[in-house]
Amino acid sequence: MLVVVLVAIALVTPPLWGQSSGRTSMVVTFKDDISTLDPAIGYDWQNWSIIKSLFDGLMDYEPGTTKLVPHLAQSYTVSADGKTYTFKLRPGIKFTNGRTVVARDVKYSVERVLNPKTQSPGAGFFGNIRGAAAFSAGKAKEVSGIRVIDRSTVAFSLDKANAAFLHTMAINFSHVVPREEVQRLGAQFGHKPVGTGAFRLREWVLGQRLVLERNPNYFLRGRPYLDRITFQVGVEPNVAFLRLQRGQVDVLGDGIPPAQFARVMSDSKLSRLVAVGDQLQTGYVTINTQVPPFTDVRVRRALNMAIDKQRIVRIINNRAVPAKQVLPPLMPGYDREYAGYPFDREQAKQLLAEAGHPNGFSTVLYANNTDPNPRIAQAIQQDLAAIGVKAELKTLAQSTVIEAGGTKGQAPLIWSGGMAWIADYPDANNFYWPILSCAALTPGTWNWAWYCNQTVEKMVEEADALVQSSQASAREAKFREAYRMIMNDAPWIPIFHEKRYTMRSARMSGQVALFVDPIHIPVHYDEVKRTSQ
């Protein structure tokens, strides 16, 4: 009876759905709200690529790849010592407020990130620009290493050569913002962004939707393909999945709901809509090298031999490949020849015995408490028990695990899932400096293994000094050697490299690579198209 009444009410009220707005629009769903769109501040996987569609950097990547190309810059030169980069801007690029971009805007944008008042999480990427430290500390009015040479030329001088510098000119934190708008809007800038990007903000209703519309003056001809993108937020992934099947949604921002995954992949009609690709990610267990008995490398190696990685991959519906090393396969410097540690419980037990633990020992394994991480941590716990290592499981909120990992001597083992390293930029040094280097060992570090090997550190420094493009292969070889040494020290148990599965509606078209773009997640908004209807 009640249901009949409900249905009757529903039928007399006009439906809101069913009609899509315009020929070339796309609807993307997210469970969580979109936070700020200020390129100096936004640093989560959701706003990261939206910001990329609203703003631009001097450099960018060829769509669907990790290949660097000049973007706002027309050209650039690198000095012989690798310490000075000079960029020439493309002429006539305009912010969406109509003003032309000049070299001074580039300098302002990076200085804004380095200014502690901005509270930018990206300041660390620019720390090696000459004079950055003095500026951040308030001892200088400007960063002496960023020089405006003329209206369209800007030069960066570095304290030491850094082969990844061009990547830092492609990450969001160095995207160019107009000073007058930042000053006019203050803290509101993140909600009323003004940039140069392929899209501009049309509407943002907090907690409901964010709408982008095409920037008619975008400097790349023919881009973007879409007139409009609507992000619906607060949509439960299972509901988003239903909406997609009803034709109301084009891209599942949060991916295919785990409970539906097997069904989707076995249904020929649905699996056609799935795009699969690699991502720059490794899931790993950190072994705290400063906490006994893990101070003994034999124990760390034993743990590396104890984990059945295939089984863990099955836990996540085979959405990953087992990992043998630190770097993911997509990353330049990935070592295709390296075999890694075998899965061999007998050898592991033998190593433990040699290290003086024939009967194993007790320890603690920390993990994030969101699915599937507790299940994965339990599998690791069982595998460790099989070689006599009794690990107590602590599944906690993400922020608590991060805090424990960054506290000296606290967390012996951490399963990184839910907090695992996804590269900021596709360069091998991004998996070293923040999470494995001696330099990162300060309180609050992300080097949760508290690992430090000065020989490796020196090698990575040498690799970073190989800045010329002609030295790229020598640099990769050096990284392969460094990462082999790291695996020999066994501060991590690499578990898997996750793959990306993006589901899009039949209305969307474009190369598969654009839907699993390694830089733009979930899809490359500027490059995807709609099929004509």
Partner: protein
């Protein structure tokens, strides 16, 4: 009455202050550093220190709490760490939706619960009574997450009568409000039934029957009206339970209310937002209790509050 109201309002203020203090202390004791969450994984130790100083997180708990209260007195709830906008703006953009959902939920729980309870009491120990009680039990115990998804699947996906979640029109409200109402409805059915049974055996009801009044007149005028009293007071007390249900229902249906906001803020230790949501929920609960007490005398003239 006026004196009573004043006393109750003063009590409410003390309760609210207590709640802010406890929440503040709990967040302070949390082994997570908001400055580090803001700073992100690429930040240097200096950046984290600078951010901590900017946010005033280096001060002791009492100093931070005093500052919070001082700002609160001016209606300033601070700025979200993640969104970088005023918490009051975040809350005000969402509170209407939550209020609407709660009204809808109360509407459905009473619509389901009261008739079901009356039916069960009047037809006591019959099949009707038993089915109502089993239904009530199922309603109370069914997880709202599952009920919500099931309703969406059947009434929005298989038979597309309702929209698949979202916000905007009356049709969007019905399924989430109904989901909220099911649990409450089951509860009210039981309360209404026992309240009815309690009243039905009172002397004045017996007198009404003895006077030869019609059955419907006895049931509606004499029994139901008196049995409603405890139910009405429960609606006020219910707001606390509702707040919990709202978090779940809002996330299933994509309803842009403060439950969703709270859930997201907790994930990233966005302290100003958490404090704001707690404050708003606490005010709602305190007001609900107060309202329940004020409605009481209107329904039962025997109850009067002395000055």
């Amino acid at each position: 009455m006026g004196g009573y109201l004043l006393r109750r309002l003063l009590q409410s203020v003390v309760i609210l202050l207590g709640i802010t203090l406890i929440t503040f202390a709990l967040l302070y004791l949390l082994p997570a550093d908001p400055a580090r969450m803001i700073a992100g994984r690429s930040a240097t130790a200096e950046t984290v220190m600078q951010i901590r100083a900017e946010l005033g997180l280096n001060e002791s708990l009492p100093v931070q709490y005093a500052r919070y209260l001082a700002r609160l007195a001016h209606g300033d709830l601070g700025r979200s760490y993640a969104q970088k906008i005023e918490v009051t703006e975040l809350l005000s953009s969402r509170i209407g939706a939550t209020f609407l959902l709660m009204l809808g939920g109360i509407f459905f729980e009473l619509l389901i619960g009261i008739p079901a309870g009356i039916l069960a009491a009047v037809r006591r120990r019959t099949a009707a009574d038993q089915s109502v009680m089993v239904g009530a039990f199922l309603g109370v115990s069914a997880p709202q997450f599952v009920v919500g998804l099931l309703l969406l699947y059947i009434l929005a996906y298989k038979v597309p009568v309702f929209p698949l979640g979202g916000f905007g029109s009356l049709t969007h409200l019905i399924l989430p409000a109904f989901t909220l109402g099911i649990a409450g409805g089951g509860w009210y059915a039981r309360v209404m039934r026992s309240s009815m049974l309690d009243v039905i055996h009172r002397d004045f009801v017996r007198t009404a029957w003895a006077k030869g009044l019609s059955g419907s007149r006895v049931i509606w005028k004499h029994t139901v009206r008196n049995a409603l009293l405890p139910v009405v007071s429960m609606v006020g007390l219910d707001i606390g339970t509702f707040m919990g249900g709202v978090v779940v229902v809002e996330s299933v249906f994509g309803w842009p209310g403060i439950g969703q906001l709270a859930w997201q803020a907790i994930q990233i230790v966005d302290i100003p937002v958490i404090m704001g949501v707690v404050m708003v929920s606490a005010i709602a609960i305190v007001l609900g209790n107060l309202l329940a007490d004020l409605v009481y005398p209107l329904l039962d003239p025997k109850i009067r509050y002395g000055g």
